[in-house]
């Protein structure tokens, strides 16, 4: 069970959130090529380790929350609002073995 620090509500249980996938993909401009939209919708990395994800606080404030989470250890490094610029910690910060 994850505990996620919602920037608006504070630390809340995973059950209040809905996982919404990769937060690093950016929607192309409307006039971008079809291939760009294809990548935006379908192409995903499947990182082992740190990842930036969307968690929708659907059972709370309904905000989309950006979460920097380790897919191996489930550690959460940081959370922020949709416009926040979050990045993954440097490799030395990981407890991966």
């Amino acid at each position: 069970m994850h505990r996620i620090d919602c920037p608006w509500c504070g630390t809340r249980d995973e059950a209040e959130f809905q996982y919404q996938g990769d937060a690093t993909a950016t929607r192309p401009a409307p006039d971008a090529a079809e291939a760009d939209f294809f990548d935006y919708v379908y192409s995903r990395d499947n990182p082992k380790g740190w990842h930036i994800e969307w968690w929708h606080h659907v059972g709370g404030c309904r905000q989309w929350v950006k979460v920097v989470r380790n897919t191996m250890t489930h550690e959460i490094h940081a959370t922020g609002g949709p416009q926040s610029k979050l990045s993954v910690p440097k490799p030395s910060g990981s407890r991966l073995r």
């Binding site: 505990r3 079809e34 935006y40 929708h56 416009q83 407890r95």
Partner: protein, 993 residues
Amino acid sequence: MTNSHRMSTGGVRIDRNKTVMFRFDGKTYQGFHGDTLASALLANGVKLMGRSFKYHRPRGCLTAGSEEPNAIVELRTGARREPNTRATIAELYDGLEAHSQNRYPSLKFDIQSVNQLLSPFLTAGFYYKTFMWPASFWEPVYEKIIRKSAGLGRAAVESDPDSYEHSHTHCDVLVVGAGPAGLAAALSAGRTGARVLLVEEQAEPGGMVSPLLDVIDDLPAADWVEQSLANLEAMENVTVRLRTTLFGYYDHNVLAALERVSDHLSEPEDDQPRQRMWTIRAKQVVLACGSHERMMAFDNNDKPGVMLAGAVRLFVERYGVAPGKRVVICTNNDDAYKTAASLKQAGVEVTAIVDARGELSPAAARAREQGLRVDSGFVPCKAIGHQQVSSVSIQRRDGSGREVLACDCLAISGGYSPDVHLVSQTGVAPIWRDDILGFVPDMPIRQERSSGACMGTFDLAGCLTEGHAAGRDAAKKAGVKVGRATKAPSAPTEELAAPVAVWRCPGNGKAFVDFQNDVTAKDIQLAHQEGFVSVEHVKRYTTLGMATDQGKTSNVTGIALLAEARGEPIPDVGTTRFRPPYSPVAIGAFAGHERGKEFQPVRRTAMHECGEKLGAVFVEAGQWLRPQYYPKSGEGVMESIYREARQVRETAGICDVSTLGKIEIFGPDSGEFLNRLYINGWKMLAPGKARYGLMLREDGYVMDDGTTSRLADDHYFMTTTTANAARVLAHMDHAAQVLWPDLDVHFCSATEQWCGVAVAGPNARKILAAAFGSALDMSDENLPFMGVRSFDWNGARARIFRISFSGELAFEVNVPWTYGEAMWDAIWEAGRDHGLIPYGTEALSVLRIEKGHVAGNELDGRTTAADMGLGKMMSSKKPFIGQKLAGREGMIDDQRATLVGVKLKSGAQRLRGGAHLVADQNNANAETSLGWVTSVCDSPAVGCWIGLAYVRGGLAEHMGNTLFAENPIYAESPEVEICSPHFFDPKGERING
């Protein structure tokens, strides 16, 4: 009723003044309050408690705790019958009824024990080798054989009469285990003022401490334990939960525990649950879960009467039961000498202590001084006896000096394995320590520390010091001011000599490693011979450690034997990872109160009772209950549905449509926002008008449809389908917050703020005019088709929309939720003279099929706007979500299946949804399928069975063609004609009334 093995004194857990009667396999026995089923059976001289899983060998209890692999029984009867429980933790109560499992016809004579004769074939990988060919036998033959012989108990067939609770708690420090280390940790953490929770699986604290032989703080250990518990319970910041097993250690220091509130009673007391599931959020955790003793692998080591030495001591000290009258102890370490001392003090004969170590340890020397026989350098090689042990043959490790010793109990200690299950669940890899012959946890990943035996510290003084320090450290790291150092509880120092490795003793018979799954030392060697090298593969191939005990007593031995076979040191073999739950947890505990009607919330509309009064039959639509149809007395389901549909077209009907998703949208950019969400345009929509809208997912497929109105320049009101309401709202949250935060738009769900009815039919206007009177001008001028008006009704804000799903003159009226019933009643009253009837979701569906309107059946997530015949709605003047990918080659292919109507040709009986359309009924398969039927009805308006369908090439290719609606499930293949989906009133004249 003998109690032949109950000693006259001793037994700190039993109350000799309270006798308890119980039954095992139909026979009545007597025990004492405080006994477990296993201790009471042993007290009565019953050693045979079960049959093994594969070979059906007679088995008695091996342990005295939750790690028990053998004494697995069925507890209770009737609705409370519970299979696969461990006799060693089942607390006795008056009237307890237990049955042995996995035997036929009786425990003493089990016909399947002939499996032992087949044992050459029942080796490692038996299932994979035997039940492979022919493949056609898998399900009909092999599965039945396997299921029948796999020995598990019978679950109750009635529903469980007891309740189960879920509770949540937070603490600064969670201490797991109330042995000496856990008690010391809870005491030291508690004294800092930290919020402490101490959980202990057993009914009483103390762990493996010897109540009379051990001394703590100059008190007999029993007194110290009692005093410590009292001290803890006196602290307001400390909670102690006994009979509570911590079974799961999850992410972010969330843990789960099962409290057996009433398992020790015949049935729960009033208002008490049977069990309570705890979710614990702990800042810091102290693991003090102790260790598990191991068996040695020697021939027939599973004979009833062969037990772990520590368990023998616990039966003597806790329950005053002597598992045997003449005991031989075999050990590779010093702990078994405590068992010898305990037995001696209780007056039980210890025939010999067989110590695998060549040199006398100090403990061994003391035992010899006290007159006990110690055979140094000897190991057991075979247990002898019919259904229970009667003697043991021992020999030197080099094979010399064989001797047979008579005994009725063989107490074995193959060393102790620190209990690393919980820490392993966090992802910590156990590391091997040669000095203690066991795995201990590596550096913590989560906020936890291990102390005492689970950290490989086996002496009492060490456990107390470590526990004390761990408790303070945990409190400090939890952010509590810990203050000045406090004194740890003390015990006399003991010098424990190192154990010696004894894995497989000499012999070539059946030497069991995993008792619950019947895995022998030979199975592990064989698996290795056959090429299974990785510990994870050997585990799955032999099933070692895969039973409900997760190999608590067997894993380390199994790993050591694999290491021997591989000729490598144990650390190179590694361990398998343990997973929750630590010990079995009943499904009922996971379900808690969420069962039956409480499984999920039920949503009722404001007009639910209005429907009920009129005899509605309700249907579940997600969590909502909606009136499905309103049968008159004596009327069948279909009769009712078609009568309702017919009458709407003849006079008028009223339908509860409150469950539609409703979203209020405000802000100067609302129009632009909707433009980007929907495929059609919204900015030019005049205030006071409604429009049908369709939205796509980003991948270009249809997501949802509905009617959205503009109420003011900067105020729109959206409706969604009932099923997609939550999804559309989340989609909008994403669009507004993530994609276009620059748009000035705000919205919120109003599904449960507005309730709504649809009033449809030629008389609809007359009825509503009568219902609302002067509050609303119902004229065509004021309220044209697709017009929207707000009005004041009895002091409430109301909205009326002139929109039609049925194709008739129709209106939808919304009022605040609490006014719903009053509105329904007002319309119902006004409709009396105009033939108004209520109609449900089924008639609603008939009406829309007749009009060719799409609904859930057609919106299956694989259709494009063009597939539904709505391609022209896609604006090319503005960008919208899904636009780009809707233009992909495969999405605009003219051979896609698109919406058509189908009409059943005369002669055939009926049409069914789901049928596949084929051109040749003699060649119907997945490749020749041209499409499928989505919705059908026996249309009152058209006069025959009609349906909507998707067909490759659509009307352009198939208009007027005859196809077959192939339905292999019902073996039907009726002829249908492909036609326009607009069956009824194709010109749409009826919406004007």
